[in-house]
Assembly symmetry: D4
Homo-oligomer: 164 residues x 8
């Protein structure tokens, strides 16, 4: 029995980002999306990072989720070498509450977009990847779109139950 | 001869957002993506906005781009009623340089992601929509992915020509 | 014996907002104002939220207090569907100290006002609701206005007693 | 024929605030609310300001709108001497884009609320005053509530006409 | 034996400010400056506050130190009713790290200055009061100026001893 | 006939600060305070600056007003070598609206206070110097205190005249 | 006659950065330092940028100055592939006054330093490069150190001449 | 056996900065760079500080690392009296997360550069000093440059090992 090939690549600048980034992994698992997770540091492994970004789409990866903190260059640098959509997760560090991470990720120049989620918002990064996969025209997409509609209904129910 | 059905919905909270948002339209045109553009205000047309968001995917729309300024609720509210990926463009208003718009769009709660681009970064919103459509498994996706790779090569060439 | 119909609706985006929002409830109780409290999430229950906002004034509700954090859309969205005054309470989340919540609530576009109080300032939201009810022309208003004047006198006394 | 007694008091810290604050006056006029407008500086006329605030409700004033910039103390100081609801308008000055004005107005301590609107948002201050008057139980309130519903419908129509 | 009349008035908006403000008291004691300390809330005791400020200089007070947090109006309001120099201490509250307090105190309009010190910088407020008293032409001033020069020498010595 | 010896020293980091700082000079002139004005750059003339600060009080100077922008070190460095009260004026430069200047001046460590006024608030720096001189026990002080009371009355009158 | 080999590499993310970055070139020219200037975009030419950074020190380059705006990744990415000191210049763009550029450049993770100068501070970047070259042990260094001392003396003289 | 003369001077405004600044010392030790560490307060020892800065290069010091917090004047003041490159480390204090320290250090006026690293980034300050020493033309420089290349390779290896 073979493992399904990963569709989403979940990378982070440092393994200390994992407590934040694992929420993306959980979201992907809830939707049954095969993914790979790795440490790919823009600053400590710049050439590996470029290589990783360049060939991701050739390996069947369809969305990249990248988390980083401080002067967070990983999401933007990956976006510059891949045609895939890149989702950036600003990881908050010891000072500035993630504002530096957010601005370093979201303020990309015209030509190279990064789909940025909230500070520490890795769960939403996973869900956004699902939405991207669900917007295709194949069976997986159709199945995921249905699941997303169910997911929204559950969110609603849980919230409604907390009310009166 | 029929007009192709729009794949991307480009909406904004006010027609005063158009000078910013038209850059998204230009990017979509460059890649030959059919789109529709409309004013859908979260605050002045809340029920129309909900209806618009709810049925977008049933009309064949595959990505929503939403721009708004200040307490910018349009992208997040649309994301709450559609399974489609929603790209949010923070439009800067007279004060605060778009920081209010950015935070109102990007800081979404877990469960409802918005793919946020830079302040005034509508061109990148268009390009991000292309990347999303290009990550599918159909012919359009394959064609767009190739175009995106060419596009990156041109960006590189233009930048390189400016040097040396 | 019947319960008096609520005059104030106290809603919040998530039950995790309750530790902040209960201070509004306490203030309302001190002034004997009947109120209802509920979880009404803009992002997880958008249609319920719209429905709730639309019919609030038809049920005798006279003021809405809405608390939310991060990209806090609840107060503004309710304000867009009700003719009632809406008081917004910015709830601080894990990062940014509530600055995102504040800007998402207060920076509303012309046409749809939200009466915003301080970050975490739910007690003042309750007191502001009382002031609104007290500014009417009926007996309740007259009684409340007197109570507010007494309340201010007590505040003064407590503060004065802390001095020499 | 007598002039109707003002129901709303529109005050500002300096006559240089008028270009911002006149938008509140326009909104009140649109709804036919009689109001008075005056310069009442917290810092240059502190005792007049206290006196003004203390007796406003005795003269039939039912809502106070106060605009100020920088270390903007006028709305909060008025709120400390009146039982009336006070609406604060942060006026942006030459530097800081009104962020100082906003924080000086909105961050009031528990006990003394100010209903704060957006930076420069005087039109919304006027509309919020109307909503407050409309939430009463008398004929004026009923008439205003209907007008507010019509007003929202017009906002919607204007926005909708800009689309499509 | 009589107590010397206070030269400095040390006031704060709330007794919860005391852990910060007592550092001003300590500095004054080190220089032997008689002072009085009191809770004088701008928002809960506005008229007492005005009265206090108006007559301070008639009682022999020569410098006022005022600490407050959030929408911190106390220093500026006192400055508006006294000819004395007023030193403002921004007290940090639960959120925003005192940035709201700082801006509410320092950004005073032309005509009414407040001598603002750092966030939580009550010790410096005390020392600044000493410098003000030391800049006079009487014996006390001469004695204080000498003490300040000794104080600076001690500061230097303590710092120098920590080095090498 | 001799020129009166200056009581206030008005210094700035660069002659480009003069359009801001001249407002301090005007305020001093209105109160008849003799002063000297000079460019004393902390960064370009560090030793001159130290020498200037060290001997200012020996020349009869009683208050120093220092304006600077960006990483504004002049007020704090002068305060570290003089027993005189130093008033700091944050001068706004091309970016950041003076927030860098403000923080560089106001956030002084315990032991070395700077009396900081608002961004660009040189007029208030002049008035604060007058208040300091007015708080002494000599005839000049008495005369100035009276003038300050008259000045406040005029401020009130001008503001009051703008109302009504 | 041969051109001297460049010792400093002056690169920028876009030719629109030149109006800011040319001030670095001017400073280098004043000290007679041969340099090269080029557009090397981290996001549009990522592989060229990596190659450029990797071989700079092998070509005799001894300091790299890199300017970029927004999500400014160029200085940090170059620093990750070169052993040379990299000086980062935050270039302000249309919004946020360069705060995003500053944080994206200065907040580098441990291991990969960037020597950051002020927003728009390209002249200081040039002067800092001179200081780095002047701190060596060869003749050039000795000559430059002397020039730097003269330069400081001139700065002082110009500033002093502006004073009285 | 003699101790090697220090090449780097590591100074800080207060011994409370040591927990941050010792990371610079560790980095220097890893590269075998002799250094001295001292408390040199700009505000408490201004003349010692000036003297220290003026003669540092005459004692063989080749790089100065200076850490300070709040209104952090030490790095900039040292830079104004030395021809050596000065590296500034913003030390975060109790409030503002080091933003005040960062701006006070990095926003230096043209003419006097400070090589600023991240908030609390003392390790990078040490590594930047190594890079500066490694960019010379002597044997030490050659040896250090090789070590830096090895160091980068190790960083890469450690990061790579954490992945996969």
């Amino acid at each position: 029995m073979s493992t399904p090939a990963p569709l989403v690549s979940l990378v982070m600048g440092s393994d200390s980002d994992w407590p934040v980034m694992k929420l993306a992994a959980e979201a992907l698992r809830e939707f049954g999306i095969p993914f790979e997770a790795d440490v790919v540091s823009a600053h400590r492994m710049p050439e590996d990072m470029i290589a990783y970004g360049k060939e991701a789409h050739t390996r069947g990866i369809r969305v990249i989720i990248a988390g980083a903190g401080g002067a967070a260059h990983l999401p933007g640098m990956l976006a510059s070498v891949t045609p895939l959509p890149v989702i950036g997760v600003p990881v908050p560090l010891k000072t500035l509450d993630g504002m530096d991470s957010l601005l370093s990720i979201v303020q990309m120049p015209a030509g190279v977009p990064v789909a940025t989620v909230s500070i520490g918002g890795a769960r939403n990064a996973g869900l956004l990847a699902v939405r991207m996969l669900a917007t295709g025209t194949d069976e997986l997409a159709a199945a995921l779109q249905e699941k997303l509609i169910d997911f929204a209904a559950e969110l609603r129910q849980v919230a409604a139950d907390k009310g009166a």
